[in-house]
């Protein structure tokens, strides 16, 4: 994909796109499209904002790679479930792009209950010279029309329109946590806490249930689905992760209801580190296949694990994200931070992975060199075109200069959502209601 080596130390901020500080602007999902030219963000207020990468322009060399707002639209509105007397939040949980097939762009966006397919299209021409209506749209009196003319197309300022093409509703009793487009580009899956459904993109009134882990007696419920994803190349294979730290790989060819997995990935627990919080911190918050399809990555509370699909017994690699939090689990349980769901992502060549942490820190791991770095997404530390300085958290007694102690970390500043450009060394990091875009130097 064009990247040979990424110097993790040299990420330069190219942009800090911040929204106003309203609650509703908290970014809840970030996703590049297949080419990387478009970057979509969803927020707590149900809005989707799409950014487009500037084309390389010789007259403005510095603006190459900058992302500007391309389209903004309200995807979901708050709803009220009258039967349960509960609100349904409009917060966008996930956005997934469809591969581009024509001039228009398509994406799926979902809140807790409803998935929508949006078409984003450009309009840069308009027709003038209609026979039946005036230039300002008023209908002309037919008796006054004495001659016919052919309308002509004239250029206009670029207008980007978003229109909902499909609404996939009423298929989920529980909260949707994942959507994933299949490699066949015709179907996609949606997963909630207890069920996974398979949809056809053209059909909204029907979906197939492919996984159901709801127990007959809800009192016996001890495990929920936390994430699900289709394999990038094999359209019959998908995985789903659970709150008990397990990942199941399923093959849709084996049966209609994939309650029995084909492969079961779980790392045996280390009995010496067992505590009351062991299960909670083993809960997997995100699972992502590598671009190659050979590996997958899972994120639990303290670490990221890379798995080889051919080895179920244990992960290939384990990367510690913030092991210094292990002694603070009680407090993190009390303030609910232990339930934060961090996402993770691969770079285009699968040689590096990235995930977020607290205090606006995010971590990147180079799988080849085994190096890792902690960077901060904040206004103070991101001067344009200056490299980001690696950060370090001090765990022991003596705090070195520039280190930050664990007790000084701000647990309200969490980076849950990050995205990596599919080909280039560009990353997008969402820090509450600010979006940061960083560019790395490529050797």
């Amino acid at each position: 994909m064009g990247i040979n080596y990424i110097d993790l130390d040299l990420f330069n901020p190219i942009q800090n796109i911040s929204a106003s500080r309203k609650q509703a602007d908290i970014i809840s999902t970030v996703e590049f499209n297949y080419s990387g030219d478009l970057l979509a963000t969803g927020d707590k207020g149900g809005r989707v904002v799409i950014f487009q990468r500037e084309q390389e322009n010789k007259s403005r060399p510095h603006s190459r790679g900058e992302y500007n707002v391309y389209s903004t639209f309200q995807s979901h509105e708050p709803e009220f479930d009258y039967l349960k007397s509960l609100e349904i939040e409009e917060k966008i949980n996930k956005i997934r792009w469809l591969p581009q097939q024509n001039a228009a762009h398509f994406l799926l966006s979902t809140n807790d209950k409803t998935i929508k397919l949006w078409k984003i299209s450009e309009r840069d021409k308009r027709a003038e010279g209609y026979n039946l209506k005036d230039e300002d749209g008023r209908l002309r009196d037919p008796f006054r029309i004495t001659a016919l003319r052919v309308p002509i197309l004239k250029p206009m300022d670029l207008m980007v329109e978003a229109s909902p093409r499909r609404i996939f509703a009423n298929a989920h009793t529980y909260h949707i946590n994942s959507i994933s487009v299949n490699s066949d580009h015709e179907t996609y899956l949606s997963a909630d806490d207890l069920r996974i459904n398979l949809w056809h993109l053209e059909i909204t009134d029907r979906s197939f249930n492919i996984v159901d882990i709801k127990p007959a007696n809800m009192e016996e419920l001890t495990e929920v689905i936390t994430a699900a994803e289709f394999h990038p190349h094999q359209c019959n294979v998908f995985v789903y992760s659970s709150s008990k730290g397990t990942i199941r790989l399923c093959d849709m060819r084996s049966s209609a209801l994939c309650d029995r997995h084909s492969k079961f990935f779980e790392e045996p627990e280390d009995p010496s580190s067992r505590s009351f919080f062991s299960e909670i911190i083993s809960s997997i918050s995100d699972v992502k296949f590598s671009h190659s399809g050979r590996y997958m990555m899972s994120r639990d509370y303290l670490s990221v694990k890379v798995w080889d699909l051919n080895m179920e017994s244990r992960p290939l690699e384990t990367h510690q994200v913030h092991e210094y939090l292990r002694s603070k689990l009680c407090s993190l349980y009390e303030n609910d931070c232990i339930f934060d769901k961090f996402e993770c992502c691969w770079n285009g060549s699968d040689s590096a992975i990235m995930t977020g942490s607290y205090n606006n820190f995010f971590r990147m791991f180079d799988r080849d060199t085994r190096r890792d770095v902690t960077l901060e997404a904040s206004r103070e530390s991101s001067k344009p075109r200056a490299s980001l300085k690696p950060r370090k958290v001090c765990t022991g007694g003596k705090r070195k200069k520039d280190e930050i102690s664990v007790d000084s970390l701000d647990f309200n500043k969490k980076i849950l959502h990050t995205a990596w450009h599919p080909a280039d060394s560009v990353i997008a990091v969402a820090a509450t209601n600010n979006l940061y875009i960083f560019q790395g130097k490529i050797n």
Partner: protein, 241 residues
């Protein structure tokens, strides 16, 4: 608790006493912390957001934690009706190192039955705890493990355990609910909002079942089965919204 009957140390035996005291404190500190964790977990389960459906994953994880604690306490034989405890709260913006609970169970197995542990095992919160408690023993028989930095003041913590809450639910009319919790002025937990919403009865919310919970529980009995039944009820309420 154990500090009440403790006599003044005489100079010669100070070191031995400290060792034994530290060991005892390790043992009961673990129990105290475990109880605090249980109380906290039950409160978390109870606090459903009235407006939006509660997060099922979080509820399931908390319920599993509660089950784990109850199983361990049942094995210990320490599962009994709880006495009023002050489950103090750590300040939200500061993390207190809670090493004891986060230490592995294996270490704790070693720590629990043997009161005569040396100072080597006692570190962090417990060693800080010792001088404070013994000095203030007459006034504050129990120090919350959570607040170590600030002196033990009245923080408006929960003065009633959850078992007593459920008992009260059973014996009093719903109208008394607000009075019951009027002394709890903790905005963090915001129980008042939850419970007044429950009692109002006009809008059935996810916590409505807790009203139904009361008659089913036979009060703070020492039978662990009924308490486990309580848990099942709570889980049932959570998941069947």
């Amino acid at each position: 608790m154990f500090t009440r009957g403790l006599k003044r140390k005489c100079v010669g035996h100070e070191e031995d006493m400290e060792g034994a005291l530290a060991g005892l404190k390790t043992v009961s500190s673990y129990s105290l912390q475990r109880q605090s964790l249980l109380d906290m977990s039950l409160v978390k389960l109870q606090l459903c957001h009235m407006l939006v459906e509660p997060n099922l994953c979080r509820s399931v994880l908390i319920a599993n934690t509660v089950r784990q604690i109850q199983e361990e306490m049942t094995q210990d034989g320490t599962w009994r009706s709880v006495t009023p405890q002050e489950a103090g709260r750590a300040p939200l913006d500061r993390l207190v190192s809670t090493e004891i609970l986060c230490r592995s169970a294996w270490e704790q197995e070693g720590a629990r039955p043997a009161p005569g542990l040396g100072d080597g095992h006692v570190q962090g919160p417990v060693s800080d705890l010792c001088p404070v408690t013994s000095a203030q023993a007459p006034r504050h028989p129990q120090s919350g493990i959570w607040e170590l930095d600030s002196p033990r003041e009245d923080r408006g913590g929960f003065h009633k355990s959850l078992d007593q809450i459920f008992e009260t639910l059973e014996t009093k009319n719903p109208g008394c609910m607000e009075e019951l919790f009027s002394d709890v002025d903790s905005p963090y937990y915001d129980l008042d909002t939850v419970l007044t919403g429950m009692v109002g009865g006009a809008r059935p919310g996810p916590c409505e079942g807790l009203e139904g919970l009361a008659p089913a529980t036979p009060g703070p009995s020492s039978s662990c089965k009924s308490d486990l039944g309580e848990l099942d009820h709570v889980v049932e309420i959570l998941v069947e919204t």
